[in-house]
């Protein structure tokens, strides 16, 4: 059974992955805002965490957020009182782990559907336009928009 990006199941599985991770490990207020079938990102994004994959399909999971948003998530993961003490390396490391957990969680859905998916190591980059980061072969994608600790957060899943 092939997975189609337009399927409601894809959105539901991505939301499920985010919900599980935030409830288990990131105790900050968060809410789902919107979802579009496009490769895009939340406004004001300052950093991206990217987890590429190969297999039946090639593509990537990409989280975009602000530096403040990354600090808030990192502080919550580490149970620190203030996000102000988080340095750039720690924030990048934490965002890499976040996209890694999302990809690992979603992989179960993909493999259960009979497709192969091999995850790469996560990478974190600064930037403001996901279209400059996504490969030119990226054809189809879905982006979820959220608010985490009051900061914009987006999750894009795209395939080539």
């Amino acid at each position: 059974m092939a997975i189609h990006l337009a399927s409601p199941d894809v959105r539901a599985k991505l939301e499920e992955a985010i919900n599980e991770i935030f409830h288990a490990m990131i105790p900050v207020p968060f809410e789902h805002l919107d979802c579009v079938n496009a490769i895009t990102q939340a406004d004001s994004v300052e950093m991206f965490a990217i987890l590429g994959f190969t297999g039946t399909k090639n593509g990537a999971f990409v989280i975009g957020t602000t530096r403040r948003g990354a600090n808030e998530i990192t502080a919550a993961l580490l149970m620190l009182d203030s996000p102000d003490a988080i340095d750039a390396d720690e924030a990048a490391d934490a965002m890499g782990e976040l996209v890694n957990m999302i990809g690992g969680n979603f992989k179960s859905y993909v493999t259960d559907a009979g497709e192969r998916m091999e995850l790469a190591a996560p990478a974190v980059v600064g930037g403001s336009d996901l279209r400059t980061i996504a490969t030119q072969e990226a054809q189809d994608g879905i982006t979820l928009f959220l608010k985490s600790a009051g900061e914009p957060l987006s999750l894009t899943y795209y395939v080539e």
Binding site: A24, M25, L77, A94, E97, N100, K107
Partner: protein, 121 residues
């Protein structure tokens, strides 16, 4: 107090794991390694009660580490794999090289306590 070796290439994830273990109520002190090579060096020093190892790491991954650790140190020290991928295939590979259990990320203090405590008697 138990002495636990945390093997993960992410320094932040090592901190998170240590924080959650403490939060779970397990009384432990920690050693840290960022890949299998470092972990083998630390394991050689002895006195490790339990190892928690990631699977996907550069230089030497978790499965190769466990295979080499078991070959050198035998079956006595429990090794729990900690991974983002909860597929049967990954778990079978971990079991085949000598891992005693696994934890899938994300994890809670309750899951950590439930998985680790039986190995820390």
């Amino acid at each position: 107090m138990s002495r636990i070796l945390i093997v993960d290439d992410s320094g932040t994830m090592r901190k998170i794991i240590m924080r959650v273990i403490r939060q779970s109520g397990i009384d432990a002190e920690f050693e840290e390694a960022q890949d299998g090579f470092e972990a083998l060096d630390i394991a050689d020093s002895g006195n490790i009660d339990l190892i928690l190892s990631d699977i996907n790491m550069p230089n030497m991954n978790g499965l190769d580490f466990v295979r080499q650790f078991r070959a050198k140190h035998g079956p006595d020290t429990p090794v729990i794999m900690i991974t983002t991928e909860g597929s049967d295939e990954v778990m079978e590979r971990a079991s085949a090289v000598g891992a005693d259990g696994y934890i899938t990320k994300p994890f809670t203090p309750e899951l950590i306590q439930r998985t680790l405590q039986p190995h820390l008697v």
